[in-house]
């Protein structure tokens, strides 16, 4: 008798469970429908020849014409390559830094020092790229600090900022430095949620700091890392426009010009090319989607709960 009651209770509990959740979702879904999905109907502009008078739905259909134009453009190859190089450098090279930083900070036991360092570390996030490019110039220009030191030590002036080979390093490196503290916040939040009892247990088992890092800390935040990685692929081909404008100069244009900057420089965001720009955006999103799906699949292979779905 009690099992039947339990079963019934479980069923009604299950139903009770989901309906309120659906109700909770209503305002959220409302928001998405109005402000995310409704405007997305405008993406079809990528397949049309949009003109203001005819509107989104009245403009004529042109299929893949804009995409063909983009791919057959002589500059497409180099612009896409630049974007891909910078994006890949960001993902593989820049992604681990905030994590490492968070882990290092986590090891600091003096709470006050930890707080101070953390607060100071995210300050660059608030400073615009123009200011930072000015500081880069002060350091690395032909008359900058670094070259002054080099000359004083007997070397010759090295034109750091006009070297195409160095540009990606400056670009990604400065972005890493700027966002290091800020991106670490999410990992620090994750680390704060790790049960100290786990550490105590590990210590009792005789594990030193390093082993605890590997076997307690890292696994605990593994899912956060995995999620952040997958999500960061969602807009991978959108390289910071403000940063590009601030850091670019004529000497390094050949490696610095990314898709978004190219569109801006060539005036393709002008009114008669609006659908073309939309098509390019669509193309970038399509690539990102593929990468997200691939990464998600890979993450789930490693850990069934590690994916987005």
């Amino acid at each position: 008798m009690s099992t039947k009651n339990n079963q019934r209770k479980k069923l009604s509990n299950a139903v009770k469970r989901f309906i309120p959740l659906y109700i909770l979702l209503i305002p959220v879904l409302l928001y998405y429908s109005i402000f995310m999905f409704a405007p997305m109907a405008g993406i079809i502009i990528a397949f049309k020849d949009y003109s203001f008078n005819l509107g989104i739905f009245g403009s004529p259909w042109v299929g893949f014409e804009h995409f063909e134009r983009f791919f057959s453009n002589g500059s497409f190859r180099s612009v896409f390559r630049n974007t891909a190089v910078i994006s890949m450098a960001r993902i593989f090279f820049a992604f681990p830094f905030p994590i490492v930083f968070a882990l290092m900070l986590n090891e600091v036991t003096a709470i006050k020092l930890k707080k101070v360092i953390q607060t100071l570390s995210y300050l660059p996030h608030f400073i615009s790229w123009i200011v930072i490019s000015g500081l880069l110039f002060a350091f690395f220009s032909s008359n900058g600090i670094v070259n002054q030191i080099i000359v004083a030590l007997g070397g010759t002036v090295k034109p750091f900022l006009s070297e195409t080979k160095l540009f990606v390093w400056f670009f990604v490196g400065s972005a890493v430095w700027k966002e290091l503290g800020w991106s670490a916040i999410i990992y620090l939040a994750a680390l704060a949620g790790v049960d100290p009892a786990l550490y105590d247990a590990a210590t009792v088992d005789g594990a030193g700091r390093w082993k605890q890092l590997l076997h307690v800390t890292l696994p605990s935040i593994r899912s956060v890392i995995s999620i952040m990685f997958i999500l960061s692929l969602a807009n991978v081909l959108t390289v910071g426009f403000e940063q590009t404008v601030a850091l670019i100069n004529s000497s390094v244009m050949s490696v610095a010009e990314t898709i978004d900057y190219y569109i801006y420089r060539t005036g393709l965001q002008q009114v008669n090319n609006y659908s073309y720009a939309t098509a390019v955006g669509f193309f970038k999103s399509a690539i990102s989607l593929v990468l997200v799906l691939a990464a998600n699949w890979g993450a789930r292979k490693i850990d069934p709960d590690g994916g987005l779905w």
Binding site: K9, N13, K16, R17, F18, P20, L21, Y22, L24, L25, V28, Y31, Y32, F35, M36, A38, P39, M40, A41, G42, I43, F101, M104, L105, T109, I117, T119, L123, P124, F126, I127, V131, I145, W177, L180, G181, I185, I186, A190, L191, A192, G193, D200, T203, R209, V216, R222, S223, V224, I227, M228, L231, A234, N235, Y274, G281, L289, V292, D305, L308
Partner: protein, 285 residues
């Protein structure tokens, strides 16, 4: 058990302190420049020590027409926006954290699509206009109330919480909403604090939307006003105006300080929620 100081620990701290020095330097530099009279900023390159305490850049910024209103507007947007965003994100993340909820995968797919595909400026603007938000304060936080990235982060945090957490409450007949409020939220303070911070800072720094959606000058946000402030100074190269404000660099420094300092205070305020060990149970590893 207290951890002993070790060589690795010292190296660790040294590296961190070095990083902190490099990250604080630009801000320090801006601070010094903002207090320096015009003439002494020219050709200085790197700055180490403040040489003067001149307030003219700050006077220029604070004398700007409408700066008080701009602060108020931005503050309203930040407060209202963060509340709205936090509410929607939390309930959304919570509801989606139940792996066995029917339709969840479909909803997640839809969410990921909004993350990867951006609707263009014109369609979004037309939608915002059709709901009557143009030139209203609401345009600065309602259309971008939910950041899908952070919603998913939150969802994962909730998902990692053990099932058993709310079980006893549910069996006692508590509604899901009550479980969320009284059990889940109190132990999620690190992630809540993080999300509050991210949204608040996002709203504070918002610029492009404020330009696009707001036309009335009295509804300008702080970032918009600051940008307009040194627009004149920058345009001197195109056509000399008769007015000569302090040069761009000192104004820019003062403007950054003025527009950033308030939000910088938000984090230390939230730092106490990042304390370890608030969790009752273990986080799934």
């Amino acid at each position: 058990m207290k951890r002993k100081a070790s060589f690795a620990g010292i190296v660790n701290i040294s590296i961190l302190v070095f990083i902190a020095f490099t990250t604080v330097y630009p801000f320090y530099y801006l601070l010094v420049i903002s207090f320096t009279p015009v003439a002494n900023t020219v050709g200085r390159g790197l700055v180490l020590f403040p040489t003067s305490f001149d307030l003219s850049s700050y006077t220029y910024v604070f004398r700007a027409f409408g700066i008080g209103g701009a602060y108020r507007t931005t503050l309203s947007v930040v407060i209202l926006g963060t509340i709205l965003s936090l509410t929607l994100s939390t309930i959304g993340a919570y509801a989606l954290s139940f792996a066995d909820m029917p339709g969840r995968n479909l909803l997640m797919t839809l969410l990921i699509i909004t993350l990867v595909f951006q609707a263009g400026l014109i369609p979004t603007y037309l939608v915002v206009r059709s709901v009557g938000l143009i030139d209203k304060l609401g345009a600065l936080f309602i259309p971008n109330a939910i950041n899908t990235f952070w919603l998913i982060i939150m969802r994962n945090f909730f998902q990692a919480l053990p099932q058993s957490l709310g079980e006893s409450a549910r069996i006692d007949g508590s509604s899901e909403f009550r479980v969320l409020i009284s059990i889940v939220l109190p132990i999620s303070t690190p992630v809540i604090a993080t999300i509050v911070l991210f949204y608040a800072v996002g709203y504070w720094n918002q610029y492009f939307n404020a330009i696009i959606y707001i036309n009335s000058q009295d509804k300008r946000t702080l970032q918009v006003l600051i940008r307009s402030l040194y627009q004149a100074a920058m345009n001197v190269t195109q056509s000399p105006t008769d007015d000569v404000p302090p040069p761009v660099e000192t104004i820019r420094s003062a403007a950054i300080i003025v527009s950033t300092l308030p939000i910088l205070c938000a984090y230390p305020f939230l730092q106490k929620y990042f304390v370890q060990g608030i969790m009752v149970g273990a986080v799934k590893g």
